[in-house]
Amino acid sequence: MNNQHLLLEIGLEEMPARFVTQSMNQLGEKVGKFLTEQNIEFGGIQLYSTPRRLAVIVKDVSEAQKDINEEAKGPAKKIALSENGDWSKAAAGFAKGQGMSVEDIFFKELNGIEYAYVNKFVKGRHTADLLPLLKEVVLNLTFGKNMRWGSSDIRYVRPIKWVVALFGSNVIPFELAGVQTGNVTTGHRFLGKTANVLDASSYEDTLRKQFVIANPDERRKLILDGLKKLETENNWAIPVDESLLEEVNNLVEFPTALFGSFNEEFLALPEEVLITSMKEHQRYFPVKDADGTLLPYFVTVRNGNDYEIDKVARGNEKVLRARLADADFFYKEDQKANIDDLVKKLEKIVYHEKIGTLSEKVARIRRISAALGNLTHVSEEVKAAADRAAQICKFDLVTQMVYEFPELQGVMGEKYARQKGEKEEVAAAINEHYKPRFAEDTVPSSETGALVSLADKLDTITACFAVGIIPTGSQDPNALRRQAAGVVQTMMEHNWNVPLEDVIGTAVKEILQDGVGEKDTDTLQKEMIAFFMLRVKHILQEKGIRYDIIDAVLAKNGGTLKETEEAASVLMNHKEDDDFKETIEALSRVVNISKKAEGSHNVDTSLFENDEEKQLHLAYTELEKSWNKADSMEARYVLLEGLKPMIEQYFDNTMVMAEDEKVKQNRLAFMSHLAHYILKFADVPAVLVK
């Protein structure tokens, strides 16, 4: 076979940086899938991307589809042949369907029955004839955001400008949005020209000559080398933020790192302000010294070579100077304002048109955090700090700095609060109450921050549910799932022994009292619990807990989130124990039979008939005494595990469903008393044992 390389390059107007890498990977996957589905063998796949192109090279692509050479099975012999031995209609139909005739049929036995077979052979088509179907592959790429342009009806990430499609050195002919495939690529927008691509193996070099580094890994390395060089030359440390590097890499085709400086006076601004200005707004890398102190320099990566690079540096300095001068002005203005005046301004800001103003939200956060403070029995100092923190937790939203730099909400609040003489824990809580800010973020470490954080998140989630903003599928614009997970994690980490229902209840009460939405207490409370339980389930899954164990601990009666998590870990730890299976089975028997009990009754020990009953009951009264003293779910599991032999002996010798109605009811009552404790640990029958 004569294998050839395949090259497909889609030339585009500048793609959003955030879509480049994922689109490149998608193109690779879809081209590979296409070839596999077409039965065309191929070697390795190499991917390329820049802001203006997505490309894939598939090596050693077979010249033709694999031939199909197989035995095709038809009807059973007795159906294939009519009574007089002629071919039946079924046989003729089968042969025809396979592109053969009845003469080609032979019989072969399969599981004791003879069937009609033909040796089917389909010659593979030439790959070159099939490759124009790549058009569909290109059109089927999906992007986070699509657009239309000109008079074209195609929706794509950005307008398509050229397509290079080569099999060997031959152009694969097709047309896309008015663009005909060819062998001409486009170089760097300013340094390069268009160029002919001979074949896939010369693709990278052809582009390199036109000032395009098509391989993103190589480009990335060039950027890192550039940063390294500046570090060495100037004795700097340039911390590399992965997501910034990824973005910068996808903004350039030919990277050249350069540095600029800014006035040292600006170093008086909070570091976060300087870093945000540089990183978020300008995509610059901030520069530090060996001790980690910020220096008045920045590094940017030009999309081009080093020609007139000083001019580029001066231009960038000018932009940063204007930004920092603005920030400096805002910082000074903000310092003139008084926190309580700023809090008052929140009355003018709508949080959501159906939910009300930020001022109303803050008032609720204050009441919810007070209620949570009582539930969690935190100290009076923490309660007082949380009350002040809740009252002023949103004041920075109306500062000029946060208006200009929204990503600094909380950060500026903390700084300003400290400057204006608020207590340290209050200031810290203003920033902490937004935590966790993203999936892997930590929870607020102080109790004060945790209370305000919980109150804020519970208020947001409850208010949204009250007015019908409920996450569905991939739609969760207010990140309610993340916020709920934050509440759960915070409660777990702070070991707060408060049932989730009660925590949710505090917010439901406040939201409904404020007249948000039109739901009744019961409906809202139920929706919220269901939503939170799903989050708890998700968190337990992330911790690697087995599904059946998650179900078992979630269905337990009452208890705190921490206990739920602990019970799950305890079951995970014990599941390999020798007697785990017997323990679970014994406890499950109690739970299952207890469901037959009607109503709740006291146990009358005088109705006991055998020693095993008495012994188990004795053990039960011990359990009752020890249960609350047991300081962990592990200790409780040990208590339950200790009952196993007595439960087994009990069932061996006792007929719970006795003929005597009184005896039966008494035994069922006992079983449900015992089950009550088992279910406080977990819904044990849900645990799967082999």
Partner: protein, 296 residues
């Protein structure tokens, strides 16, 4: 290059690309997009190529002429081309060269920026163009205008004149920019900047402005009922400006704010729909005239 020469250069450049050179529209507005030459003409199938300078008023940005970067009124150079030409990025880059900006000496990038104006029911995708890290242009492919899908798609290029000039003239303060020989921005605009700021924040009469909003809104609706799109739209623009002054003044309460934006959005959508219907009744004359020319 002074601002006057910049404008002349851009006008020449886009005129050579077949754009109709128009003058600024004579009703106050917050952005070049709101001119009927953009907002209305981006609607429907008729081709449309136009360029104009638009003085844009942003009452909230008024700083009494004290701030080196912010203005009550700045200038945008606006280009609309419908359908968007295939080589529009190159045409744009050529205009920078015409302004004396050699791309080889700079770092020019197209950075994703999607534009939305909910109160006009508009949305578009595109970029902000960076010149050595400074945003000098908004480059947008309109996807929706007045709630209507754009077919074909218009491209909008908006140059921030003062921004670009501060780069070209290497000035840190907008008021030091040279407009033409012997005249700076300060000479021409300082007094109106001061006075409009004072008016916006101090001496304007909110009661009168609220009253005007209602009157303008009513008149916009009445003219729409008559099928008179342009007079109706003028009153929508007036509503928008009055709203911006009231908003900058801090005179609009929370709940009112959302409601006012909603009212303007409704008007904008109705105007867009009416404009489409009226053009359709006329048989989309520009589209068909172009068709005739093709047959000759």
């Amino acid at each position: 290059m002074n601002i006057q020469d910049m404008i002349l250069t851009l006008q020449k450049h886009w005129s050579d690309q077949g754009c109709i050179l128009m003058q600024a529209y004579d009703v106050e507005k917050g952005a070049g997009t709101m001119s009927p030459y953009t907002f209305l003409r981006a609607i429907g199938p008729e081709p449309w190529n136009v360029a104009y300078v638009e003085p844009s008023r942003r009452p909230a940005d008024g700083r009494y002429g004290d701030n080196p970067n912010r203005l009550y009124q700045h200038h945008q150079f606006q280009v609309i081309m419908k359908p968007s030409p295939d080589n529009i990025q190159e045409l744009y880059l050529d205009s920078l060269k015409a302004l004396g900006i050699d791309p080889l000496e700079h770092d020019i990038r197209f950075v994703e920026d999607n534009w939305e104006n909910p109160s006009l029911g508009c949305a578009g995708l595109g970029w902000e163009v960076w010149l050595d890290g400074m945003e000098i242009t908004q480059f947008t492919y309109f996807q929706q205008v007045g709630g209507l899908e754009c077919k074909p798609v218009s491209v909008e290029i908006t140059y921030g004149i003062e921004r670009l000039a501060s780069y070209i003239q290497e000035k840190e303060n907008v008021f030091e920019l040279e407009w033409t020989n012997g005249f700076t921005v300060h000479d021409i605009f300082y007094q109106p900047e001061f006075e409009h700021s004072k008016y916006t924040f101090e001496t304007s009469d909110p009661d009168m402005l609220f009253n005007l909003f209602g009157v303008y809104e009513k008149e916009a609706k009445r003219q729409m009922d008559e099928g008179l799109v342009h007079p109706a739209y003028d009153y929508v623009l007036k509503c928008s400006h009055v709203f911006n002054v009231l908003d900058a003044r801090g005179a609009i309460s929370v709940t009112e704010r959302t409601a006012y934006i909603g009212r303007m959005r409704n008007l904008a959508r109705q105007v867009a729909k009416t404009f489409y219907d009226e053009r359709e009744k006329l048989g989309f004359p520009i589209l068909n005239r172009k068709g005739d020319a093709d047959h000759e």
